[in-house]
Symmetry: C2
Subunit: 252 residues, 2 copies
Amino acid sequence: MMRRYVIVVEYLGIGLHGWQIQENGPSVQGLLESALAPLNGGVPVPVTGAGRTDAGVHATGQVAHLDMEREIEPEKLVAAINHHLKPAAVSVIGARLAPEGFHARFSATKRHYLYRIINRPARLALEEGRAWHIAEALDEAAMREGAKRLLGHHDFTSFRAAQCQSQSALKTLDQLDVEQRGDEIRFTVSARSFLHHQVRNMVGTLKLVGAGKWRPEDVSAALEARDRAAAGPTAPPDGLYLTHVEYQEFGF
Amino acid sequence: MMRRYVIVVEYLGIGLHGWQIQENGPSVQGLLESALAPLNGGVPVPVTGAGRTDAGVHATGQVAHLDMEREIEPEKLVAAINHHLKPAAVSVIGARLAPEGFHARFSATKRHYLYRIINRPARLALEEGRAWHIAEALDEAAMREGAKRLLGHHDFTSFRAAQCQSQSALKTLDQLDVEQRGDEIRFTVSARSFLHHQVRNMVGTLKLVGAGKWRPEDVSAALEARDRAAAGPTAPPDGLYLTHVEYQEFGF
């Protein structure tokens, strides 16, 4: 009998070619599938993630499922995968048996992201590759004003990558909080689902507001234009973290 | 006329051989001295730090001074050093002219360190090299009890490295807070000065208390023994950050 397991995965995006298996370099999915092979008679086990993060994007709580004939205690599954993942910057931090009909991507009811900007003149040492460094002073209050204008149900065509495969650009943005702590500005973002590059395109647009190049109301105009060219540039992947995926079936 | 400048330095200890210039690999001091050379007619400028951090130890607020004939705006000094430091994981985050008689090491009135443990079964991905990973469950309350017993004026011989060059082992420990947030346990430590490896030896000892191998009162016995062999092992450098150095002369 096939058993479906759910795993929660943490990874550092630096040096990885994103979640999805690529021919030209290591991916999180590929590393996981290879790490599972020794538990499956040497045959890689297909792994399906909740979201396909891009190259350079990090995760503290990506969720994925995998099917195996073998029955194994979830704690032992975690330890075994992690043993074979070494020394990659990918770690399975939790596992459990999936409930009936569970699918990591289609069962997800909410996805949460964090985007980090470090706003200071000096280049990054500790946070290089882990945050977007912006040297010019940003106005947090103005960015928060701009962010409010993106909340709710909208056609997000202006914030959608050209290669986005979603059938519709209509999405409901539930949360886009902007919070400054010292020289760090954190965007906490959540929705049932996102368009490709949507978070990075929203942050790249709000950065224009923070820098005083746009007014907060220009964000509404960009949204209404339904044209990618009307919004700001794509923020780099460095600052983006998939932090949490919600499912009706259980808490994580 | 020689001018003394004070700089605040952030660095990632991974891959560096510590603060002090070494023959066998890159050091923070060496990288800074080389980065200053182009501003000084090609001649490296000696840099004196507040504390000599070991290989693998990080800093968010190391302080150092340097003397140059050249008069330069502090902001320009920051930008110029950082330009030449690239791509090292070292960044100067602030600078100013030093007050009369200032010395980065001898004028310091207090040093602040952070030590991070990540306490979970799964290996580290995002925080590899940036925290001490401990898989067995630790009791935060017991560690806090043990920590209290180290506060105040004591002979810290039991927590001193054999190669320590301090004239006396008598030190006053002002702060040793233990705080858990999720799976992270943070030790916030401050004193006018520390013995070599003192913070790492205290954390390594408190870990024994957290793991239930020692009782909190055993920490007092270790302290009273005045014998390095009576205390716990040295915690790895990975979790240690020099966060802040205080001076009577100014706020940072």
